[in-house]
């Protein structure tokens, strides 16, 4: 038997299983070395700059334009994905059709395909002489090298987040409530709007938030299709890289700190959504 010291016993419940010290110690040490210390560096460096300098570089006109573009296109792509991701999840959960399993597996492609590959592929599709771009150009729609192109890339990246968040909730949704709604005289559309949508709402919002957070930080799939013009199609992650290449470490750090705070806020929001929806589940 292992002797458990009173102090350790007070902090964690005693267990007959060995290996807590080793596994917990290793976990904490590795986490601190690889994740916590490096991430803390950003905030330490940013704090060392002083308010004046921090505000000047973090919210310069060029940086503001980059945030607006990154957050704007990520929100737009998140909305597109909320609509079409819900549609895809609905079709995959509710209907049968040939090739459904292949389609379902394909939904995860953006998780598996390296972002740079997605980037050059989308550019090949949407550039003015590309597969799709050549038909859009004559009718005056420019996709590549505009914010629309960035949104297209972020739709690709974010889609599985929405589909995979909504699918399990749709699966668990009992037929009973829908039958009850129908019995009470609701049309199918009323049932969807008033019964189904409120139930899957938190999952849909979580999917949107995950896609949004990923889209704000996305780099590889965007830089090929975006055109990278400062002030117009320069996303915030690219601005960090540009600053870094010019040895403007303060600028890169300040912008990174702002983006990290933003993504932590989104993370907090996701946890809040999930906590409240869990509370509501309790009868």
């Amino acid at each position: 038997m292992h002797a458990i010291t009173p102090r350790a016993a007070r902090w964690r419940q005693p267990s007959v299983l060995p290996g807590f010290g080793l596994s917990f110690g290793f976990t904490l040490a590795w986490l601190t070395l690889i994740v916590l210390i490096p991430l803390a560096t950003i905030f330490l460096k940013a704090a060392g700059m002083g308010w004046q300098e921090f505000l000047a570089v973090a919210f310069s006109p060029r940086a503001m334009a980059a945030y607006r573009l990154s957050f704007g296109t990520a929100a737009m792509a998140g909305l597109v994905n909320a609509v079409f991701g819900l549609l895809v999840a609905w079709v995959l959960v509710r209907y049968e059709f040939p090739g459904k399993k292949v389609v379902s597996a394909l939904v995860d492609l953006p998780f598996a395909l390296p972002t740079a590959v997605a980037g050059i592929a989308l550019t090949a599709l949407y550039s003015p002489n590309g597969w799709i771009g050549q038909y859009l150009e004559p009718i005056g729609i420019k996709v590549a090298f505009t914010p629309i192109g960035i949104t297209v890339a972020l739709v690709f990246i974010g889609l599985p987040f929405v589909v995979r968040s909504v699918e399990p909730v749709l699966e668990d949704l009992g037929k009973e409530v829908e039958e009850a709604a129908a019995t009470l005289g609701a049309t199918r559309w009323q049932t969807f709007l008033l019964v189904i949508l409120p139930t899957i709402g938190p999952a849909l919002l979580t999917g949107f938030a995950l896609a949004f957070a990923r889209g704000v930080g996305e780099y590889g799939s965007v830089i090929f299709i975006s055109g990278n013009m400062p002030g117009r199609t320069e996303i915030a992650p690219l601005l960090i890289v540009t600053q870094l290449e010019q040895y403007a470490y303060a600028g890169a750090t300040a912008i990174a700190a702002v983006m990290m705070l933003a993504s932590f806020l989104v993370l907090l929001l996701i946890n809040l959504i999930q906590a409240t929806s869990r509370l509501r589940m309790v009868p």
Partner: protein, 278 residues
């Protein structure tokens, strides 16, 4: 019994399925097709030539090396973390899980930047490293660090839910029958979690081989030396060598397809559920 009021009419159903398939066709399927089509545009020989250049081969070797170092590191970490988290009760557990997930919510570019701030020429340890003639940034160690950071949560987050569900009765039985801790781990725990472990390793590997943003910041893009496959794709593309870029990209797309197939097979056969956040 299916009545008209709890499902949609035939026409609506067909319309919704059609709309979903057209959307997926444009957003997911076409980008995949265009990679292979552009790579093989000039035929098989230019495609093979593009892959057979010394720079491309060096990039492939480096990518394999990076994955061979970072994936086992994260596998060991994932096992240790999920053992501590699922087999013991202690306060602060939720916080620990959140911290492990943290790298997923950090932009890849920022993930590279933090290591430049630490180990770059002007970084916290920059002077010390230069004094001892050590190179981390613009060298292989930096790429490994950035990759380990990016793929940090993959194995742990596949194992934790499964091991929580399985509980610790099996392990406690083994221990009470006189097995040692390691014996219990090897003969009881590992067989129970091996498919989930494989699943996590698979996703971890795909991301490790395909990571672009974080690696791009720390690599320095030295051809033949610090260029991974995704970075080599970018260089070729920016040099307008489209066949070359898409040829290397098609290898990565192939890796993605193999990963998807293996992942799907694991999900079907062992009822594993995909996490929504990768």
């Amino acid at each position: 019994m299916i009545t008209r009021t709890t499902t949609e009419g035939r026409l609506t159903r067909a319309l919704l399925i059609g709309l979903a398939l057209v959307f997926l066709g444009f957003v997911l399927f076409l980008p995949l097709v265009v990679v292979f089509s552009e790579a093989l545009k000039m035929g098989l020989v230019p495609f093979l030539d593009a892959i057979h250049t010394p720079d491309a081969l060096a990039a492939i070797r480096l990518t394999l090396l990076i994955a061979a170092i970072s994936v086992p590191l994260n596998m060991v970490f994932g096992l240790a973390a999920s053992w501590a988290i699922t087999k013991f009760q202690f306060p602060g557990k939720a916080l620990l899980i959140t911290l492990i997930d943290l790298p997923f919510s950090v932009s890849p570019v920022v993930s590279g930047l933090i290591f430049v701030l630490l180990f770059g020429a002007n970084g916290v340890f920059g002077a010390w490293l230069a004094e001892h003639d050590l190179k981390i940034i613009f060298a292989v160690p930096g790429i490994v660090l950035a990759t380990v950071f990016i793929t940090f949560p993959f194995v742990a987050r596949e194992l934790i839910p499964l091991m929580l569900e399985q509980g610790k009765d099996d392990e406690e039985a083994a221990i009470s029958l006189g097995a040692s801790g390691w014996q219990t781990f090897w003969h009881v725990t590992l067989p129970n979690i091996r498919w989930a472990l494989l699943y996590g390793v698979l996703l971890c590997n795909a991301r490790a081989m395909g990571e672009f943003g974080a690696v791009s910041v720390v690599s320095g893009h030295i051809r033949g030396e610090t260029n991974t496959m995704p970075l080599h794709v970018e260089i070729l593309y920016n040099e307008y060598d489209f066949v070359g870029a898409f040829a290397v990209a098609s290898l990565l797309a192939l890796l993605a397809l193999v990963t998807l197939v293996a992942k799907t097979v694991l999900e079907w056969r062992f009822d594993l559920h995909a996490g929504a956040r990768h």
